[in-house]
């Protein structure tokens, strides 16, 4: 009786040793590097590598505030700050050198001019400079009730209303035949395909603006793949999703995408680089109408209660509101990129599932993608999105 546990214990101990050994070797290597400093030969008197990323810009009654993140080989010291080629007094919070990866606020009592451009230049103690342009100086949205309500309104118009409008085609669409159904499903894939490409591009672009320490492009790809695999795994727990489940996944994917979109719009809005005119908001709304049709497609043959439609609308549309709030009040480029990447992964999952569903609906399996209604649907979905996107691209 005692033989087995003893052997097991011995094996466990042996395993522990084999586990500890590489760690100990690495520890010794680190200790040797730190204590004897064999790399001192590389020290050639060159100044440390410095990098500074501007994450947020806040313009308000007290002047100009900048959130900067240091990414140097050593802690960085901000020595002076220029605005429009003039030195301005500033206060740093927290004060002192900014550790690698750390962030600090620089606050300047700078009398910025509404609607004009300003150029900020941070000078470090080594004399290196880091520039940041404020394209259009506008007051940064504050977390006031009025401001939040206004942003919620924009979020509702660009996120919830179009999905609701799209879902309202439900009664009309119920009458479609087999080919019409294939057209609608492939229309959904087409529009989602556009969103996937668009969101990925935008995520990578934002990732490029983020501090190097976040390794933006890698983060975007990994986040997208993770969300794709996670949602696939969840969705396939009990077979491939169909009907309401598939609609829900489409709504979730679109919702995550809208969250990222909201963050990006909100951040651009806060930075003054995008004026959210009526035309632009309506453009976004029109752009998103097909999303509702896409969500409705898998449940055309079911008869879900009204509350399901409300739920799907909120799931797909309301993240736009949350995104607007976060984007204009708190987000930095890396968080917008991360949200867009997760959204892209979710959209990919939905594309796969809708495609699988489309194939199961037809006896032609994968050849279904080459049938006229499907080709027409794919083209129509992507083309509609592309054409309406022209309204909102600046």
């Amino acid at each position: 009786m005692n033989e087995m546990p003893r052997a097991a214990i011995r094996a466990a101990k042996t395993n522990l040793v084999w586990l500890a050994l590489p760690l100990i070797v690495f520890g010794i290597a680190v200790a040797w590097l730190v204590s004897t400093d064999p790399l001192s030969g590389f020290r050639n008197g060159a100044p440390p590598v410095e990098n500074l990323t501007f994450e947020r810009t806040v313009l308000d009654d007290s002047g100009l505030s900048l959130l900067v993140r240091a990414g140097g080989s050593e802690p960085m010291t901000v020595a002076q700050v220029q605005v429009d080629d003039a030195y301005w007094q500033f206060a740093q919070d927290p004060p002192g050198p900014i550790a690698r990866g750390g962030a600090a606020w620089l606050k300047l009592p700078f009398p910025w001019m509404l609607g004009e451009a300003h150029a900020v230049k941070v000078v470090t103690n080594t004399g290196a400079t880091f520039a940041h342009d404020i394209a259009v100086a506008v007051p940064t949205p504050q977390a006031t009730t009025g401001q939040l309500r206004l942003q919620a309104l924009v979020g509702i118009i660009v996120g919830i209303v179009p999905v609701a409008v799209g879902l309202m085609f439900y009664p009309v669409l119920r009458g479609v035949g087999r080919e019409g159904m294939a057209f609608l499903l492939s229309l959904t894939i087409g529009l989602l395909g556009f969103l996937l490409v668009d969101a990925s591009g935008e995520a990578l672009e934002l990732a490029g603006e983020a501090a190097a320490i976040f390794q933006g492009p890698v983060m975007v790809v990994l986040a997208a793949l993770s969300s794709f695999l996670l949602l696939m795994a969840i969705g396939r727990r009990s077979g491939a999703p169909t009907g309401l489940a598939l609609s829900t996944y489409i709504a979730l994917g679109i919702g995550l995408h809208n969250l990222g979109e909201g963050l990006a719009i909100g951040a651009a809005f806060a930075a003054g680089s995008a004026g959210l005119g009526t035309f632009l908001v309506l453009g976004f709304a029109l752009h998103n109408v097909t999303e509702g049709i896409g969500i409705a497609a898998p449940i055309l043959k079911k008869r879900p209660p009204f509350s399901v439609f409300v739920g799907l609308t909120l799931l797909a549309g309301s993240p736009a509101v949350i995104g607007m709030w976060l984007g204009s009040l708190a987000a930095s480029a890396q968080w917008s990129a991360l949200a867009l990447a997760i959204g892209a992964g979710a959209i990919l999952q939905v594309i796969v599932e809708v495609g699988a569903y489309l194939m199961r609906q037809s006896e032609r399996r994968s050849d279904v993608f080459l049938t006229p209604p499907v080709l027409a649907g794919l083209a129509a979905g992507a083309a509609f999105m592309y054409a309406t996107a022209a309204l909102v691209k600046i």
Binding site: D61, S62, Y87, Q89, K107, P109, N125, T126, G127
Partner: protein, 375 residues
């Protein structure tokens, strides 16, 4: 390039540094007598730190300023002291009875603080930027013993009249690291001149800090038509003591080496004379030896507030080349003498700056603190 410095030169160097310290001490006494107060004479600069909490309406020009102070003790030179710190060398008499004036100069690599918190890897003469303000009298024999303790070849190219051998250009008076050269020539013509390194690349050698004032006072005996004016210009005469003389070298620094200056100043430190205005005794006339050595910008200028001055371009005349102006421009290496008085003014802070407002806002601006005669 990186030749080791000869040990005998090193020993002489430490002696030299001791000598410099002594000279600095003398300069402090002199400047105190002239009214350049060392004590914390802070202007109207708003204290840093609290600035961030000020509301928008209070954002006056007081907030448009560098934050913090430069540690002059660490730098080893002080912009205010340098205003009146003349290097007159050591004087001896030649067999023919002429005066021989000898200056000791070194080239050294040195990291200096050119604005609060900003370190600049400078190349210096005698460890300071600008280099020592050399001053001699017209007709004297000058001997400048130059030793290069720096990591690159350097020279001293004087703006003056001399032989080609003494010109301080490649092939004539260029000094390799660890070597020595003696420049020798007559002090002429009188005026407000400059010297700078003429090693290649020239722009980099000048911009890194290798320049300084070179003033030759007129000899009253040779200027019978303007004896009084000449005597007032000649250092050491009672007439000259009636003036408040200041040497201002307008310089700038490109800290990120993008061929554009990040900081502008007189005597190196940005905003130094905003934070510590230059004390001017109301009744005494003021004479400024103004020298422009900036790189990357074609011209610099000097504008005096609430007053006008006479200007002697290059200082080689005893009558003004421009009368009653409040702005003069200088191209690179141009220089001249400004004369004015606040005798009829009420005491207060009078600003001076170049009228290229960009230079002003990047640090080259100061104040004269005009006060009644010292008790």
């Amino acid at each position: 390039m990186d030749k080791p410095t000869r040990p005998d030169l090193l020993r002489r160097r430490s002696l030299l540094i001791g000598g410099l310290a002594a000279a600095g001490g003398t300069a402090i006494c002199t400047s105190a007598a002239l009214g350049q107060q060392q004590a914390s004479h802070v202007g109207h600069a708003a204290p840093s730190g609290a600035a961030g909490q000020e509301p928008m309406p209070a954002m006056g020009h007081g907030a448009m300023m560098t934050v913090g102070e430069v540690d002059s003790a660490v730098n080893g030179f002080d912009p205010t002291e340098m205003l009146t710190d003349w290097d007159t060398g050591t004087v001896s008499t030649l067999p023919d009875g002429r005066t021989l004036r000898t200056f000791e100069m070194t080239a050294e690599d040195r990291e200096i603080e050119i604005a609060p918190g900003i370190k600049f890897p400078a190349w210096t003469y005698n460890g300071r930027v600008p280099g020592p303000a050399l001053r001699a009298k017209e007709g004297e024999r000058l001997r400048i013993v130059f030793r290069n303790y720096a990591s690159h070849p350097h020279s001293i190219h004087f703006h003056g009249i001399h032989a080609a051998r003494m010109d301080g250009v490649p092939g004539a008076g260029m000094v390799d690291p660890g070597d020595e050269f003696i420049y020798e020539f007559d002090a002429k013509p009188f005026g407000c001149h400059l010297y700078h390194c003429h090693a290649m690349p020239l722009r980099r050698h000048i911009h890194k800090g290798m320049y300084g004032a070179f003033v030759i006072d007129p000899d009253p005996e040779r200027r019978p038509e303007h004896v009084a004016v000449a005597r007032s210009r000649l250092l050491g005469t009672p007439e000259n003591a009636g003036w408040q003389e200041l040497v201002m070298v307008m310089n700038a620094f490109d800290t990120n080496f993008d061929a554009e200056n990040e900081f502008y100043a007189v005597n190196t430190v940005a905003h130094a004379f905003m934070k510590r205005p230059i004390r001017i005794v109301k009744g005494k006339p003021v004479r400024i030896y103004l020298i422009n050595v900036i790189e990357f910008d074609a011209i610099n200028s000097f504008h005096l507030h609430a007053n006008f001055f006479d200007y002697y371009d290059q200082g080689t005349t005893l009558t003004p080349t421009l009368k009653t102006v409040d702005l003069i421009t200088q191209c690179q290496a141009q220089r001249g003498i400004l004369e004015f008085t606040f005798a009829e003014h009420e005491p207060g802070l009078y600003m001076f700056h170049p009228h290229q407002t960009e230079f002003t806002e990047l640090g080259w601006v100061g104040m004269f603190d005009v006060v009644e005669a010292l008790a």
